[in-house]
């Protein structure tokens, strides 16, 4: 045995298996209360260094929003919709507000539409910065983490100025429009923050080759047909060569008037997903600049005053709205029977499919060391999966 090993001068899994046969097989629990995974667990079966099977174990963050919303009026639900996904609260505000608006048929003031898109794109930017931060942390690149979260705070300062809260906007994008108008001078502040974000993106590009490519190239490759079958959406699907974006294919708000591109890559690996997100940030900045140039004056909410809860009525009907979130496709099905509260709300988060079928598929056959890279390259958020 020793002689054989000397000849090859390399210990491989096969060698170990020869020495201790059958003892390389074990269970490994990734999560749920672990800084590397978020509030979510994966039960892994590992052979040596290789993952032989993976089974997602969600539910750690289940709060039952769909049921809670059946007992509240839309204005209160708007506040609740922040919590669906902490990392992109404003985007979920928009999903909820759109569903209610389509049911009530209220004509949203043009200024409110622009503010909604502005805030949704800012939220997308900060969400991608969080992703960059945790992705760096998962790859052992702490500088990137600290930098991304530092620059994200500049965007949070803007949220604080406009919505009155840093992380939770408390239903800033509410049914009928938005809750507050932009304060004086906020345009200049947003422009300054965009410059700072561009500075961060330049740094991201500089670091790109050192850390990211070596840990992510060829890791967690998803083929196009698998991606569609497993229900992947958003950046994950675009990294597999499918040119699709809800903002273009199924435009909502004012996205059909704006000029932006859909970044697509063919490789389908973790590296492609990283690059797609970098490109998406550029597109978001492009959108925000266009919005700031064109934003009209006018009302911000229709009706301007909040209706007292006892007088709220949602007309009977059912709608299904789709939005492009930072992580993928976010949808809401809303059914009303004419009461003040919706009769049934179904929220469909992108991570419900990214974290269960897609993650299980990608982890199977990967190496232990690649788990964080695969896990975070999907940019997952347990909150919107468990709801």
């Amino acid at each position: 045995m020793t002689k054989q090993m000397n000849e090859k001068e390399l210990i491989t899994i096969e060698h170990i298996e020869q020495i201790i046969p059958g003892d390389t097989d074990y269970n490994f629990y990734f999560g749920p209360a672990h800084s590397g995974s978020g509030n979510f667990g994966v039960k892994l079966r590992i052979d040596g260094e290789k993952v032989t099977s993976a089974r997602a174990d969600p539910g750690y963050l289940h709060r039952g929003f769909e049921k809670l919303m059946e007992y509240r009026i839309p204005m209160q639900n708007a506040v609740l919709s922040d919590r669906v996904c902490v990392l992109e609260a404003l985007n979920w505000n928009l999903v909820h507000a759109e569903a209610v608006d389509e049911l009530t048929g209220v004509e949203i003031p043009q200024r409110a539409r622009y503010i909604r898109v502005l805030m949704a794109e800012m939220s997308r930017l900060q969400s991608h910065l969080i992703w960059y931060g945790v992705m760096s942390l998962a790859l052992g690149f702490d500088t990137g983490f600290k930098m991304a979260f530092g620059y994200r705070d500049y965007i949070l300062d803007i949220f604080e100025l406009i919505t009155g809260g840093r992380v939770y906007p408390a239903g800033y994008i509410c049914p009928g429009g938005v809750r507050r108008d932009l304060p004086d001078g906020s345009e200049d502040k947003i422009k300054r923050v965009l410059d700072q974000t561009e500075e961060m993106m330049q740094k991201m590009k500089d670091f790109d080759n050192i850390v990211f490519s070596r840990r992510t190239k060829g890791v967690g490759t998803l083929r196009t047909e698998d991606a569609i079958r497993l229900g992947a959406t958003g950046p994950v699907l675009r990294a597999c060569g499918v040119e699709t974006d809800v903002r273009k294919d199924d435009p909502y708000e004012i996205y059909d008037e704006l000029d932006f591109d859909i970044p697509v890559r063919e490789e389908g690996d973790a590296y492609a997903r990283c690059l797609i997100r970098g490109r998406e940030m550029e597109e978001s900045i492009k959108i925000i600049k266009q919005v700031l140039d064109r934003i009209p004056q006018g009302n911000i909410r229709e009706p301007a005053k909040i209706t007292p809860p006892s007088r709220v009525k949602i007309p009977e009907g059912e709608v299904y709205v789709r939005n492009e979130l930072a992580r993928g496709e976010g949808c809401a099905y809303m059914r009303s029977v004419g009461g003040g509260e919706p009769y049934r709300v179904k929220l469909r988060g992108p991570d419900f499919l990214h974290m269960i079928p897609v993650l299980e598929h990608l982890l199977k056959g990967s190496q232990i060391a690649d788990i964080p890279a695969i896990y975070w390259s999907l940019n997952i958020c347990p909150a919107d999966m468990d709801r």
Binding site: G231, V319, R322, C331, Y333, F352
Partner: protein, 170 residues
């Protein structure tokens, strides 16, 4: 208006030619059809053939007065850019329906698993319907309309001695 909804009407025409059901175009890119539960699987197969390869979501609406569950399948076509919603009704006393797992594979599997847990709908042919979110849950399926969660929580968790909880329970 009629001109611009050409794509949407075409989908309905294709479906009604084969299944003898009427559909409705709600607005641009939104098509709704209702079908009997026996023909659901055949229609889903047909829709997949039309290019609806992305199952966006499955949802259940509970109608206790009618005694039915309403299932909605939301399908998106990447090529046609249309969202097709298929609706079907189940008997609430015997909520069993054929699984769409053979059509949309893992994607459908996980949606059905969620709805089985939250509404108690049986998907015949789906092999893995183990609980997803709730651990050690022994109550009825919690998202049903007749599940009185206030009473359930009061019995399980109300701490009468805690002054602060009174506003929630009384």
């Amino acid at each position: 208006m009629a001109e611009s909804l050409h794509k949407e009407s075409k989908v309905i025409e294709d479906i009604s030619a084969k299944f003898k059901i009427a559909g409705k175009v709600q607005r641009e890119r939104r098509v709704w059809v209702t079908i009997d539960k026996d023909e659901l699987i055949a229609l889903c197969n047909f829709a997949k053939g039309l290019g609806f390869e992305h199952l966006s979501a499955i949802s259940v609406t509970d109608w206790p007065e009618e005694g039915t569950f309403e299932l909605t399948y939301h399908l998106w076509s990447y090529s046609e850019r249309i969202l097709l919603t298929i609706k079907t009704k189940l008997d609430r006393a015997n909520p069993a329906v054929g699984s769409v797992v053979p059509i949309w594979k893992e994607n459908a599997q996980i949606h059905e698993r969620e709805l089985h847990e939250l509404f108690g709908v049986e998907f015949e042919g789906n092999e893995d319907l183990t609980p997803l979110f709730l651990e050690d849950w022994d109550g009825p399926p919690p998202f049903r309309k007749d599940f009185d969660w206030k009473e359930y929580v009061r019995q399980q968790y109300y701490d009468q001695a805690n002054e602060r909880e009174r506003a929630y329970y009384d």
